[in-house]
Symmetry: C3
Subunit: 224 residues, 3 copies
């Protein structure tokens, strides 16, 4: 019983951390776009809650978490406003941003898989839900700011792959290991692979058309 | 009883006016894009019904209003087609467009707040629903036509802020004042602040990174 | 009874064919974007299942078909991966692509109309659902890859119009003719008009502002 409550609390804590972290990345995506504070908050909210919203609507799991518990909205709002204010006084924290983004992705991916499994979904759906929860918010953020979504333009760096890996670890050991521990381990797997990919340039095979030669990593999409 | 019916009718009237007005702005967004008549109608429908659809799906309020009452769809279709035809003979009505867009935003924002309150939602959710209803349709329109959403690139002009203000007025006095009157006043607040912002250049603080100086209003995003 | 089963099976077959075909067009849209294999699969899945998902969420028809029957997801994944692999060895099949895209649109449009009619929706909603099912997946694909949606930038070629025509034929004769036969005929209508439009340049009136002269078909939007 105690353990069940502890896992529930851990999920809530991770969820809030993911919301805060993604809201900050959303707010910082306003860089160079001349947005006002409300635009920044809107970007923060959409980035933080977009993925979970699409997941829950797809699974018909109502009421939506942020409609039921307004702490989610407030967390997103306060995080965005804080980012807005701090950015006036601090240099753009590029490394921190990438770390926060990786952490948010790892948290949300595992929470997405956990929710689908808890609802009795088959593994492939749980993996889909992990990827939606972990990546969709960031995709909407990128579309709203006029960019090709980060996860699609990664130039070989792993991103959605890490969400998938974290979810697969969670699903494979679900029911065999203590829930809270398993979540922690799965999140670490997703996070570590993501960071390793960023710093070592680990990558998946690239899409190539016949007649186009493989080029070294370039900046075609990144510059846009 | 009579009064209740009157408020219901007022809501329906305002809703239809919002649909017509937003459908026209959607159709006119086709300017310079070489769309055919069906593309124009699609843009009109999406702009007019997109915000309300996202709101109702988020609140799990089914059936969707335009699925239940086809008058909404027909209003959007007829308004778009009329705009398509009239544009061949009239000069682009820039001021009228901005006025209609402001009116649609004000109507939809207050109707969104009204619906959330009627469903027993807390204030912060009602404000969110007001902003979704008032702004999401236009955001989808801008994304479909390849632009950074108007509400995000306003160069300091207030837009979503006005939707928020209208909603806050409605929520603050909800239950204290006659429903129909309160809606009228809230809509006027949102509309007047929007128009004042357009003509006087009222604005919110801008997002600035340390080391970037504040520039005068420029056209960086607007030109895209 | 037998006939009913046969129609059900035909629907399932057509649905799977549409998923496979759209997943391939989604994967091929990765051309020139430097995506890795997972990005390609994500694009394929979104293109194949996006339209049906929006339709079913709008109609509140849960569980979503790909959540209930994982064969849909697997079909989309396998088709995308196949396209990813084959593209390394074959020249870009431009004509085949356009044919597959037209086929997917025709299949999905008629299936969308069929579903709405089966749920007792009025004709205008059935037409909307046909257009959503046939066109929305491709629109999301185009937005994710940073393009103005194909159906909006067709430079006069008919696309959504064909989805609409197929749906209208299906709706007009629904209940009068055998279901399976009617579906086949409606799909052929949508497909043939689409192909005729591509090869003969059939088109709808274009959106023109007063003072802008009609130009010959150009590449303004296509190049982006």
């Amino acid at each position: 019983m105690n353990e069940y409550i502890a896992t529930e609390q851990l999920i809530y804590l991770f969820d809030m951390a993911g919301v805060a972290v993604f809201a900050i990345t959303g707010a910082l995506a306003a860089r160079g776009k001349k947005l006002d504070i409300l635009g920044v908050v809107v970007l923060g909210i959409v980035t933080a809650l977009g993925g979970g919203t699409i997941r829950d609507i797809s699974l018909n799991d109502h009421p939506l978490i942020w409609v039921e518990d307004t702490a989610y909205l407030w967390t997103a709002i306060i995080s965005s406003v804080s980012a807005f204010i701090l950015c006036r006084y601090l240099a753009y924290p590029r490394r921190l941003m990438l770390l926060l983004d990786a952490l948010g992705m790892a948290l949300f991916a595992v929470l997405g898989a956990q929710k689908a499994i808890a609802l009795g979904m088959p593994p492939v759906i749980a993996v889909m839900m992990a990827m939606i929860t972990g990546c969709a918010g960031g995709m909407i953020r990128d579309i709203l700011t006029g960019q090709i979504p980060l996860i699609l333009q990664r130039n070989g760096e792993l991103y959605a792959t890490c969400a998938m890996l974290g979810a697969i670890v969670y699903i494979a050991f679900s029911g065999l290991v203590d829930g809270g521990l398993l979540m922690l381990v799965s999140i670490m797997v997703a996070l570590v692979v993501r960071l390793a990919s960023m710093y070592t340039g680990l990558e998946l095979p690239e899409f190539v058309m016949k007649g186009h030669k493989l080029e070294p990593k370039d900046k075609v999409n990144r510059e846009r």
